[in-house]
Amino acid sequence: MIHADQTVFFWINGLAGHVAWIDSVIRILSCDLFIPVIMIIALIAVWYSGRNIADRTRNQYGVICSLASMGIANLLVYVFDAMLPDRLRPFEAFPDRVHLIFYQPNDPSFPSNAAAASFALATGIWVYNRKLGYIFSIPALIISFGRIYMGVHYPLDILGGFALAILATGIVAAVMKLGKPAIEWLLKLMRKFYLA
């Protein structure tokens, strides 16, 4: 499995370092400053969207689930980082073979925090709005692919991040189901102040 992981990694990372502008575009698309901000402003748009109150309320549940899932996914990544033996980043394990076109992160390679957070945003909203969930998974896929392309993650790290995102969303969705009255109360309070 590790061998297959490394084979796929080198196949994708082998594409880097040939065309400077493609590297630059992927570096921007996959950094921590582009897609997360796009996803957050998109979530603001989702919060306000809906043809009627029921529709909007469903979207607002999705936004709450999405943000909470991202928070829990981040937390799970920290827990897993503390529990699992550190997996070296590709550029650390194969310094002579990897095309590194990004800064050198100093946390463990597995699981990918960027993949966990971005997929958690997508899976969180998917619980309440399938179509939006699929749309939000496009930027998550881009950032995940970019991390492999840039030489900072193996494909298995991304899959680990994706699995944690699903786990985080499962936890959040279950808590939201149990705590539905509290969420209703929160949304009602926000509506009183014209925020929801």
């Binding site: 921007i28 400053l33 997360p36 748009a45 306000y48 109150i53 509506r191 102040f193 014209y194």
Partner: protein
């Protein structure tokens, strides 16, 4: 250690906050135009809200990634401070949108909405500024 120099730089944080702030301001204007929330729009004509919002978002992304001196080969943020500054910038942008649109639209005629379902939450911002909506709420002792 070189990679961490930029993290401690307040200029880097200020640029990031400005980038998020302007992007959210732009998005709020597109939202105002799309859902006809006149009370939070900076413009009477929704066409201008679309133009302003779209240009603001495109311009700030081009500036931030093209001309702000950002070097992505340097380490940028750790997750907790990034989330903190992101949240602060978003909240500030929402506050400024509500405040500035209330000032710009202070002459917007307050319309009484008889249908209860239409006056629920942000629906109110279709005909009232955020300030007018809140004042109305508080003048009625917390009930609509």
């Amino acid at each position: 250690m070189k990679g961490y120099i930029e993290v401690s730089s307040w200029i880097f944080v200020a640029k990031y906050c400005a980038y998020v702030f302007i992007a959210v301001i732009g998005m709020m204007q597109i939202i105002a135009a799309k859902w006809e929330l006149k009370g939070i729009s900076f413009f009477r004509d929704k066409k201008w809200s679309y133009i302003f919002g779209t240009l603001a978002i495109i311009a700030v992304f081009v500036w931030y990634f093209g001309f702000s001196g950002l070097n992505l080969m340097n380490r940028t943020f750790d997750t907790p401070p990034q989330l903190l500054w992101l949240a602060i910038s978003v909240l500030l942008a929402l506050l400024i949108t509500f405040g500035l649109s209330s000032l710009i639209n202070r002459l917007l005629p307050p319309t009484e909405i008889s249908d209860k379902t239409q006056s629920d939450g942000i629906e109110m911002l279709k005909n009232k500024t955020y300030w007018q909506a809140c004042s109305r709420y508080f003048h009625r002792g917390g009930s609509r």
